[in-house]
């Protein structure tokens, strides 16, 4: 069931669109903001709120890479693996992340601290290689500052 807060936020968005179905993505993002990810139950909740079947909502949810259909850790690391970051050595950054966190891309650490995911170009190419942790952008990464940056997230 949607919480009162979620309901309120979804209703506030309703005025911005011609049809309630258009709210599907906004509603998924609102639910994810509060619950961390989008469970099957969340899919049904969103469907009821915007007038779509759970299958229709799921077809939308699974299309967009920033809607998480599996549980994620307390912090999500998105490492850019697009061309500018590749030229500047993002493979090394990814390998170091895998090594330090003892996970592969797509996985979450055992202590639920970090989930590691690739992301297309973050628009930080002049400071490549770059990662985004939660909502924070970090550029000009190397093996040393990466450690310090990770330490800021507990």
């Amino acid at each position: 069931m949607l919480s009162d807060q979620e309901k309120q936020e979804i209703e506030a968005e309703l005025a911005h669109y011609e049809r309630p179905q258009a709210l599907c993505i906004e509603a998924l993002k609102i639910v994810q903001k509060h619950r961390g990810w989008v469970s099957d139950e969340a899919i049904r909740d969103v469907g009821e709120a915007v007038g779509l079947s759970p299958h229709e909502v799921d077809s939308v949810a699974t299309f967009y890479n920033l809607i998480y259909r599996r549980e994620v850790g307390r912090h999500v690391i998105h490492y850019c693996d697009s061309v500018s970051c590749w030229v500047m050595g993002c493979d090394k950054i990814r390998n170091q992340l895998c090594q330090e966190l003892k996970i592969q891309p797509g996985q979450t650490t055992e202590d639920q601290r970090f989930t590691l995911l690739p992301i297309p170009c973050l628009g930080a190419c002049d400071t490549a290689p770059a990662v985004m942790i939660d909502e924070d952008l970090h550029g000009n990464l190397n093996s040393e500052n990466l450690k310090d940056i990770l330490a800021r997230y507990d």
Partner: protein, 425 residues
């Protein structure tokens, strides 16, 4: 004013607010146009200026606006959408504008909406631009409080509301009809054209989709006139352009320069030349989906026409440099991996073809390729070319591949013949 897009920007971390924007002359153009000009005259001014879309396709902005039906009989609301879904790999120009001077976007959107008689607008912002979201939210609130958005803007009959929509990912959202589907809450697959969005767009209503940098040009054009705008350029394509450089150069960055600035000047002067120990080998001039240019093109003026004549596209104008120690096969493999990932899956050649290309490139890159793989890649370039797929995604993906096969064929052969990547020690 020589740099109309960036001259007022102090720094990305400190966006200029409404007060400062107005003190510099901001909102004068919109105020004047809404009081004194007919919507058609605004469109005509933009046509006369020669402004071409800065998202990459380079279509005349004023012409696009002129396709929107006007008058009381037309279905309402009509929509203006700012495409701020900056996801072209190697591109970081729109973020700089949004986070430095958000009111110039709002003023451009007021003018654009007035020209096409639209009363509802959206800014479609990529999800990862959290800072831009915050800056835009504050600027929109300021503009609303001042009466520059909402009912009867500047005391005119014209009303406009701008909504900020934060996306949920996927590169294909930058394709304008896919963007419309995303805004309608659907999977972002492209739509068939015709009908074109200016006639049948968002929710079936007439809709204009313009790139961020395009809209930043509108207020200066109205303020200073089409002739002034044309004089900002070194060539036939009018205005200034945001050029960016990333890769192994001394000073990667972004600069607003006259349209038609030569490639050599951008790389050697503005980007400070190549890093110590690295040589220039080539460049993709305008994001992932443009053809490579090489040393012989260094004196090319970077405008729409000249780059097209050289067999590539200006695209977004933000270039990625290939140096002599980076493997061109690896670079193209990285690009095709991106495109394989981001294909929306709607049409078969793109959904199935690009992953095959990626697998072939991976094999070659790892030294497991066969000589006939090169022919196979050439065939795929043809099969995924213009006219063979539902939208421009796959043909765009083929651009860096076909030009890499042309300019770096020896590198492909060496990988296959030596059974290894010659760039790996």
């Amino acid at each position: 004013m020589d740099r109309p897009l960036t001259e007022w920007i102090l720094s990305e971390s400190l966006p200029i607010g409404l007060k400062r924007y107005e003190a510099l002359g901001g909102y004068e153009a919109a105020r004047k146009a809404l009081a004194e000009m007919e919507p058609k005259a605004v469109t005509q001014t933009v046509i006369d200026s020669g402004l071409r879309g800065r998202g990459g396709a380079g279509f005349s902005t004023g012409m696009k606006w002129s396709f929107v039906p006007l008058g009381p009989e037309v279905p309402r609301p009509k929509y203006l959408i700012c495409n701020a879904d900056e996801m072209e790999p190697g591109t970081f120009k729109d973020r700089y504008l949004l986070e430095g001077n958000p009111h110039q976007l709002i003023e451009g959107m007021i003018l654009g909406a007035y020209a096409i008689e639209s009363e509802v607008a959206y800014i479609f912002l990529r999800a990862e631009y959290h800072r831009s979201h915050q800056v835009l939210t504050e600027a929109l609130a300021e503009a609303r409080a001042a009466g520059y958005l909402g009912k009867n803007i500047f005391g005119s009959q014209h009303s406009l509301e701008i909504h900020l929509h934060s996306s949920a990912g996927r590169y294909i959202c930058g394709e304008e009809t896919a963007l419309l589907n995303a805004l309608e809450g659907r999977r972002a697959v492209p739509r068939a054209k015709p009908p074109f969005p200016p006639v049948v767009g968002l929710f079936g209503k007439p809709t204009i989709v313009n790139n961020v940098e395009t809209l930043y040009n509108i207020a200066p054009i109205l303020q200073h006139g089409p002739e002034w705008f044309q004089k900002r350029s070194l060539t036939e394509d009018a205005g200034t352009k945001l050029y960016g450089v990333s890769g192994r150069v001394r000073k990667p960055g972004l600069w607003e320069l006259p349209m038609g600035t030569p490639l050599r000047e951008i790389i050697e002067e503005h980007a400070g030349g190549m890093c110590e120990g690295y040589q220039f080998r080539g460049v993709i001039p305008g994001g992932a989906s443009t053809d490579f240019l090489v040393s012989e093109h260094l004196d090319l003026p970077l405008d729409f026409e000249s780059v097209a004549k050289a067999g590539s596209r200006l695209g977004t104008g933000t270039m990625i440099v290939l140096d002599d120690r980076t493997c061109p096969v690896g670079m193209v493999h990285n690009l095709q991996k991106f495109f394989a990932h981001e294909s929306c899956g709607w049409c078969t050649p793109c959904r199935d073809g690009i992953p095959w290309i990626e697998k072939i490139l991976e094999a070659i890159d790892q030294g497991k390729g066969r000589l006939d793989d090169i022919d196979l890649l050439h065939r795929h370039v043809k099969h995924l070319g213009p006219g063979r797929t539902f939208c421009a995604f796959a043909p765009g993906a083929m651009e860096p591949l076909q030009s890499a096969l042309k300019y770096f064929e020896d590198d492909f052969r060496r990988h296959i013949e030596e059974g290894r990547c010659p760039y790996h020690e």
